[in-house]
């Protein structure tokens, strides 16, 4: 996911919010992971907006994408220059209305925005885990989120919503804990990565690991593999846009010049954009987290994990009502991949609605204010909350 964070046009906001922490799996009760390793203690950073109602029937869990975090909406302080990553979607009177719903988002396990990940201190060594951090899967991320949700006293979620890697977590929630999910909205996502998606991730990982500062992941006491991580981010940005989006945004326009430089500095605007995005990203993201999370995304495979090779069998576990949304210009997780999950849901006679929104902005379209999209989420939530009896 890219960053498109802007202030709300109508000035509506959840206001000042606070990041909270929840720690569990203290030794000896370590958290078993799918890879066979055990991890603990585990901290999840999370934020909540709105109020949980008396019968606890208005909780919505938002799942963030690769480079997102728990900060969905609002500001951390009066002087905070920008709001959370989905501020246009979440807030009072917005599509995910915080006057009506209790909204939760936690940073994923393996992340680097407050939750336990490779940059966290390994209690056994007193140093950052680095590559001693065990491999985590999308399933592990969701299992950790469930501990948090139960800690918050919620037995059943009104809805789970997320785009991209967040959409994978939505699917995982719906299949792993069907009794806890009333409605599910997987957006711009897939039941498993195509070779194309794995290929891009692998190039991004190679860029990090080829950076001499990476040093087998043990860079926390010295210079960080900034160039590698920046290149990884640039690759990501290309996949999040589209041919059309890039043409519209940059074309072949030159950056602050009218003639080629005949050198390797920036000539084109698109080069300047990618370099800027790369630089910005290394300030807030950990390279090892990037490696772990992209690998988790590549391993994610609904068929294999839940259906013994059959997507139809996998979705036979689900009980939620679904709204599946794709975007026409998304070439990372194209519409046909959404249709595959819709097809498997239909074969199980699940209540599923599907809409492909015509949008130019590629995979990133779900992060850009869009009234049609917001209205869709809003009205689907209205409907499922009417039907919900916890």
């Amino acid at each position: 996911m890219s960053e498109y964070i802007t202030h709300d046009r109508r000035g509506r906001s959840v206001g000042i919010v606070q990041k909270k922490y929840f720690t569990f799996a203290y030794p000896p009760n370590l958290f078993p992971l799918e890879c066979g390793a055990k991890l603990g203690p585990i901290t999840l950073a999370y934020e909540t907006y709105g109020q949980l109602n008396a019968d606890r029937s208005n909780a919505i869990l938002i799942l963030h994408a690769l480079s997102g975090d728990s900060h969905v909406a609002g500001y951390y302080s009066e002087n905070d220059p920008k709001p959370g990553w989905w501020d246009f979607m979440v807030g009072p009177g917005k599509a995910i209305d915080t006057e009506k719903y209790f909204v939760i988002c936690s940073n994923i396990l393996g992340g680097c925005a407050g939750s336990t990940g490779p940059s966290s201190i390994n209690p056994n060594t007193g140093r950052p885990y680095a590559l001693e951090f065990p491999f985590v899967t999308i399933g592990d991320m969701v299992r950790a989120q469930r501990v948090l949700i139960e800690h918050l006293g919620i037995r059943k979620l009104l809805a789970v919503i997320g785009g991209s890697l967040g959409g994978m977590q939505v699917l995982e929630w719906a299949l792993r804990y069907p009794e806890m999910v009333h409605a599910a909205i997987p957006i711009a996502t897939t039941t498993r990565h195509s070779a194309l998606a794995i290929a891009f991730n692998e190039v991004a990982r190679q860029a990090i690991m080829a950076d001499p500062n990476w040093r087998g992941g043990n860079y926390y006491d010295g210079p960080r593999p900034e160039m590698g991580l920046a290149v990884a981010r640039m690759i990501g940005h290309i996949t999040y846009l589209s041919d059309r989006a890039l043409r519209r945004k940059f074309g072949r326009r030159l950056q602050n010049k009218s003639h080629f430089s005949f050198g390797f500095e920036v000539d084109f605007q698109v080069e300047s954009y990618l370099r800027y995005q790369g630089r910005k990203f290394v300030e807030r993201f950990d390279a090892n987290s990037f490696l772990y999370i992209t690998k988790a995304a590549d391993y994610f495979d609904v068929k294999r994990q839940h259906g013994e090779g059959s997507l139809v069998k996998a979705f036979s576990k689900a009980r939620a009502r679904f709204l599946v949304v794709s975007f026409s210009s998304d070439w990372l997780y194209p519409t046909y991949q959404s249709r595959e999950m819709v097809k498997a849901m239909k074969k199980n006679e699940l209540d599923v609605s599907f809409c492909e929104i015509e949008a130019d902005w590629g995979h990133d379209a779900f992060l850009i204010p869009n009234e049609k999209f917001e209205e869709l989420i809003h009205s689907f939530l209205e409907r499922v909350s009417r039907e919900f009896e916890p």
């Binding site: 009502r321 709204l323 249709r339 819709v342 097809k343 239909k346 074969k347 006679e349 209540d351 599923v352 609605s353 599907f354 809409c355 492909e356 929104i357 015509e358 049609k372 209205e375 869709l376 009205s379 689907f380 209205e382 409907r383 009417r386």
Partner: protein
Amino acid sequence: MSLSLKDLRFDLQIIASWIEPGSKVIDLGCGRGDLLLYLREHKGVKGIGIEKDEAEVRECIQKGLTVIQGDLNQEVLDYPNQAFDYVILSQTLQQIYTPHILLPSLLRIGRRVIVSFPNFAHWTIRLDLLLHGRAPKNPQLPYEWYDSPNIRVITIRDFREFIHRLGYRVIREAPVSTYNQDRQGKIVKRWANLRATYGIFMVGKEENGRKNGN
């Protein structure tokens, strides 16, 4: 948002009256979802819509309906056998490339198929062809031959024969004559193939060796 029967297009009013309360319905080419909304509100029907137009799909979801954006010829293939009590194909048959392939697949997923279509044997069309030698065009079929989505020219008689040839049976039929932009109309009792602007049929498979139930 409440919808009364009179708010529906006339052929949909007839179709709605044929649906048993509490049944499971799929509406192929459901448009803005008026029929499904009416059936949900007045007959407690659990409905699903298929629609290819994104804006209409969004409108259906805004009405709280379950709808899938896609091509109906493809979408119907994914449902289990006899998943529905009724499969509705209103004013869409004339735009289907292979009706003889579609209809059996509809009777696979549903017990009854309800079809409505414009009757190309209406007397105004016959007269126009006879007197002026022009391709069909009237208030029900407002297109020119070159831009018409209606690639299949069907008459009530043709449809009845088509059903028999496929080995199915007509369970109910209502030839209707509509006016006021198809919002109102009446059932045509005599000379239906000449006087009806639309044919509405309920089709099922042969049961217990019965022949041609109507």
